[in-house]
Amino acid sequence: MKVAVFGGSGFLGYDFVRLALKEGGVTPVVYSSSAKSLSNVARHEVDIRLYPSAEPASVTLDEDVDLLINFSHPFERRDGISGYTQVQRFADFVGAARRHNPRLRLIHTSSMSVYEPFAPGHEFDERASLRAPRHDRYAREKICAEQALLALPDAASWQLHLRPTVVYGPFCGVWTDRIFEAFMAGDVDYRDLSGRIQPLYGEDLSRLLLGAVRNFRPGIYNVPGPETLRWQEFMGAFAALVGHGRLRHRAEGGGAQTWIGFYTSNLRELLHAVRREPAFNRIALRIARHLPERSVLAIRDLLLGRGERAPRNVEARGSDEYMRAFFAEDRLVSAAQVMRDFPDFKPRALSACADDLGRYYRYRYSDDQFVEEPAHG
């Protein structure tokens, strides 16, 4: 079965593609909007097609594609087009494809974020109303995407929407790599990690998806992991794998960042990013020549930090990331419906995935070669 996979080079998309190729019986065609993210998926004998994210209508699905899986999600302005417009254009594209091929079905990977703001101790079920806070663009765009797709004619008969919770695993940026990198950089400060989550291993989501590809059923489902953990337990598992930095509690307000510190650290981060641009040093030098040396040094120390350089491999993550109130809040959803309708869905606990994660950590952050060592002379 040939399947069109949009966003098939990202974390979740690639995880699904890799599993589909390994298990066989499904031929994914990967649609990606950026050549930057193709390293992983290009390792496989798979058809990769680049398309401009602002113009999904430029894509023509192959005639023998009856299923489209969407992992892509626009969350930034591209080519002058807002995320909302991109969402609507993608929905229009899906609608046109469905009109062209009435057999077409859609699996859309949404997110638990559609339930923002969450409530303490409450497990949201699929009937909960969706009204994300105005400032939460990510959640609002996720809701926008679901609503735009569900507004297509007869959507309930040919669309499956999955709302996974916190997903972690190989190549996950936010809930895996960044946590590893934070501990690699040293101790990680937190204020309150008591919020509860139901973490889901990426491969388990991919297995659910693969099952749905083979036995499609429409609907909307929450997809939580098998256990409820506090962020502290979740992060602690990563700290144990890294074996370097520790979680370090910082009292409320005690080390809170001043507004000057906030702007300085962010400005420095921006400057380190801008420095990678080829023209930066040339222009900076041109300016510096017209200033007294002491002034140049003072500006340099202020903007770039005294003697400080951004690591070139693994970017330093600000330890304040885990000081946010976000980590004190419960984010829970009900698993009843997915367990009832997908009885084969058997997600694994974090402890059962630790070996895999440990192997991934070694893979991602060491020089280990995974081949025979040469005989040294």
Binding site: L38, A42, R43, I48, R312, Y360, Y363, D367, Q369, P374
Partner: protein
Amino acid sequence: MGVDFHLPRLITLCGVTAVTIVEVDARRRADLAEKFGARNDVQVLPALPQDGRYDIAVIATPPRLHAPYVEELKLRCRQLLIEKPLANDLAGALAIAASLADAPCQAFVCHIRRALGSFALVRELRQRGTFGRLRSVRLAEGGVFNWKAASIGSFSRQLNGGGVLQDTGPHALDLLCQVFTELSLQRSWMDADLTRGARAIEANCVLHLRGDDQVPVALALSRNRNFSNRAHFQFEGAELTLDVRDNSLSLRLDDGVGVQGVALGGPLQRLEYHELFDAFYRRFIVAGDNRGVAMGDALRVAHLIDAAYARAEAMTGGF
């Protein structure tokens, strides 16, 4: 993307007063036109003009397209700089080298790490026996791919000839070529199945080589792992560790005494990529000296890459 690196050097270091950029893709051409539209010294064209001569020509297309541009430019420019890898396979590289053998232009391959001084220093130390016999070499270069690729070229076996080995491989192998006169492949591993189908390209590869005096050399390259980006030279009496992207090195003697520093004869220690590009242009293009970056040097690398693909074994343990 190549424009961002070459154009500033052509203007500021080489003193070029007029630049013609050829971009066949309409969308990217429109972007370039917007970027340089206000400048009188830069024009953007959809195809190379049939006539006209150039002081310097730079070929920074996907490697599959290098050969036709070489043919069009070799009699019309004084200096010809070709991005690495020279071609998408050995046959193509040999053809380009043969074509340029009698051409009047001075040809350079863009092996920018020839501008580093540290690997040439290791060669000297090895030849002088300063720290005793060289026992082994390990070099690992890799990071998560985040190059602002303008096209799918870097991920197309047809256009690029392969994955990471065709991408950072020429640079890493060129570093080793600066140390060893002889360098031969023993075994190679890739994490893509290159024998089935025509699409898959490797994100990771490992090459086991032998240098002069049968010194074992292990080279690991990656586009999805965060390697140390260092080369370790284990001598009898010391370990020398070199950064593969700048000029810094550290030396640790057997008794634990050591030093960190910068090799002389090259640009200073902490180089950003564009600074290395500056150093390359100054040392070779501006100086009109292509020793170390000529066709013969590119062919040496191309032979090793060809052997590595031809003998690739499956790498396990990836994700």
